[in-house]
């Protein structure tokens, strides 16, 4: 319809695969779409704004006295714990929203476009790191206002924040998988909570591990969430880097390596 006529189908030079560079570009465009959507519907950010504020206040004042004797000495324990718990809980929303988004007609168009199959998923997940960033910043800010002064310094706090955001992004692939295979958005929420609740609470996030029965300590110590919490504590409270950080990063990489391909496959299969 525009000024030039259309090249007939037989004369075109075409490739049957998408290059890595193209995949990255497509994913970034899809992430841009996610950001635009956030800009248009800022009420989506309610949970990441309110949850860090409420949870940080609540847990610190409820458990502070019982666990560490007073609130001030509990802060270095609870802030990294609550940070990990809040930000990872936020990543559930990624799966829920993906499910809602996929039910809309626009995903049909994405599927019919010659773009990398992973792009609609990777883009959505990438855009959601903005949510994790908001939650992270707010949790640290709340902690600071309540009197938490991380001994590790601002630089290490920033590294810890990046670590948590990266790990949440990795974990969000699990919820993206649920989002792709589940029938409704609310079932995604349900399944994800069942997985995440034990994982975050059966960890060292809120209470010292040595107060737990032996069998539970075994689980808590292998729980990847515990390692992530420890890594954040090392960074923020002491400015040190230890095995926990390495384990967290490896764990995150393993999750992406497993869940990204199966999520894309499930997404392709879904009609």
């Amino acid at each position: 319809m525009s000024s030039s006529s259309i090249k007939p189908g037989v004369n075109r030079q075409l490739k049957n695969y998408t290059s890595f560079g193209q995949s990255v570009r497509h994913s970034l465009t899809m992430a841009y779409r996610g950001l635009l959507k956030l800009k248009r519907t800022p009420e989506q950010l309610f949970d990441v704004t309110l949850q860090p504020i409420i949870f940080t206040l609540m847990f610190t004042y409820i458990f502070g006295g019982a666990i560490s004797g007073d609130v001030a000495s509990y802060l270095p324990v609870i802030i990294p714990g609550i940070l990990v718990q809040t930000v990872i809980t936020t990543s559930i929303v990624t799966g829920v929203q993906l499910r809602e988004d996929m039910d809309k007609g626009v995903f049909d168009r994405f599927k019919s476009l010659p773009i990398a199959r992973i792009a609609p998923l990777a883009g959505a997940l990438l855009a959601d790191t903005i949510r994790y960033t908001i939650a992270t910043v707010l949790t640290f800010t709340m902690g600071y206002l309540m009197g938490y002064h991380p001994a590790g310094g601002l630089g290490n706090v920033a590294i810890a924040a990046l670590l948590v955001i990266f790990c949440s992004w990795a974990i969000s692939w699990i919820f993206a998988f649920f989002g792709v295979i589940a029938r409704t958005a609310s079932s995604v929420q349900g399944i994800s909570m069942i997985v995440l609740f034990p994982l975050t609470f059966l960890s060292n996030a809120f209470v010292p591990v040595n107060t737990m029965p032996g069998w539970l300590q075994w689980f808590v110590n292998i729980n990847p969430i515990s390692h992530l919490v420890s890594a954040v504590r090392d960074l923020t409270n002491a400015g040190t880097v230890g095995w926990d950080l390495v384990i967290s990063l490896i764990g995150a990489a393993v999750i992406v390596a497993i869940f990204a391909p199966i999520t894309v496959r499930a997404y392709m299969r879904r009609t």
């Binding site: 030039s4 090249k7 007939p8 497509h26 841009y32 635009l36 248009r40 049909d108």
Partner: protein, 340 residues
């Protein structure tokens, strides 16, 4: 608007489908569909709701994996070379496949970027398409406030970004008002003039008649008839002659004369004074008119009506369209007869 056209090579098929099957549970939605669409033509897939039109299109557009059978687009297999096929097609779904929460411009820019256009180029393309589809004024508004017709137009615009040689339109005018519908028809005709091939589904007989070069009638997942609109109509039978007399008392005499001269059974319709008879031999009509005049019977109106696609559909499938379709009566060639 430029109308340079591209001649399709003979045997250059835009779509070739062989024995496509798709089952959902125990429902065979598509049950062995064969289809050949010549490049540069408009091909209509006509059928009632639930006949398997959308499922067929979704398989051809790589959105759905066929359970059996094969299909190729410009010679590229939809399953083995799906990424190539996607570079050759544009799909406009039954439900607008655009992003509700974004504006029209943002939608088009994102799709353009995904199709590999640069930032500035995408912006220019979006503006160009919005202009062409009369959406410039609404470009910045979120789609939530768009009317059905505007949404469809935006959807079609999005399908044209890459100027694909084959465009699938799934019920492009369902739910549109008559004016918007004829605008959409013009747009589709213009598309073909630039060299695109269009495969559209519709449940409106009139639409297939107006637009499509060839029509496949599909029912219960099978192609039950295929051909040009005229071929399909001819397969149903002859045209019919409609007469209305001025004076209702003359109707019995007129009917007798019609049956004598044309040597056929005629019908008198309930609305007073209308006689309908099959017209096998147009030559005999002259004799009939002379006979009527000599008997002093005055006609108020005379018309010849070709069979409508409605009747075609009824004859082929044994049932009418399940959905209410608009009257496809434009085929009648009305001839007002002056007082004899």
């Amino acid at each position: 608007m430029d109308y340079r056209t591209i001649e399709p090579n003979n045997g250059d098929w835009a779509v070739e489908a062989r024995g496509l099957v798709k089952t959902f549970g125990d429902n065979r939605a598509v049950d062995g569909v064969n289809m050949n669409v010549r490049a540069g033509s408009i091909y209509g897939v006509l059928g009632p709701n639930g006949a398997g039109k959308t499922t067929t299109i979704r398989m051809l557009a790589t959105l759905l994996r066929p359970d059996a059978g094969s299909a190729s687009i410009f010679g590229h297999d939809v399953q083995k070379e799906s990424q190539i096929v996607r570079q050759l097609i544009g799909v406009t779904g039954q439900y607008a496949s655009v992003d509700e929460s974004l504006s029209a411009t943002e939608n088009l820019i994102i799709f353009s970027r995904l199709l590999g256009l640069g930032r500035a180029e995408a912006k220019r393309k979006a503006a160009e398409l919005l202009e062409e589809f009369g959406l410039t004024e609404a470009a910045r508004r979120p789609l939530k406030n768009f009317s059905g017709g505007m949404r469809r137009r935006l959807d079609l615009a999005a399908s044209l970004i890459a100027q694909p040689p084959l465009i699938f339109l799934d019920e492009p005018t369902t739910g549109l008002d008559p004016r918007t519908r004829s605008q959409m028809w013009d747009t589709i005709r213009r598309l073909v003039n630039t060299g695109s091939t269009v495969l559209l589904t519709t449940q409106y007989l009139e639409e297939a008649d107006q637009l499509a070069d060839r029509i496949a009638v599909i029912d219960y997942g099978r192609v039950v008839a295929e051909g040009t609109a005229d071929e399909l109509k001819a397969s149903v039978g002859t045209s019919s002659l409609h007469l209305r007399v001025q004076n209702p008392q003359d109707i019995d005499d007129a009917r007798r004369t019609v049956e004598q001269v044309l040597k056929v059974q005629s019908n008198v319709s309930s609305e007073a004074g209308k006689i309908t008879a099959p017209m096998a031999n147009a030559d005999l009509v002259t004799d009939l008119l002379i006979a009527l005049r000599s008997e002093g019977i005055h006609l108020a109106e005379m018309s010849v009506q070709k069979p409508t696609l409605d009747e075609v559909f009824l004859t082929i499938t044994g049932h009418g369209t399940k959905e209410e379709a608009p009257q496809a009566s434009n085929e009648s060639n009305k001839v007002e007869v002056a007082r004899a």
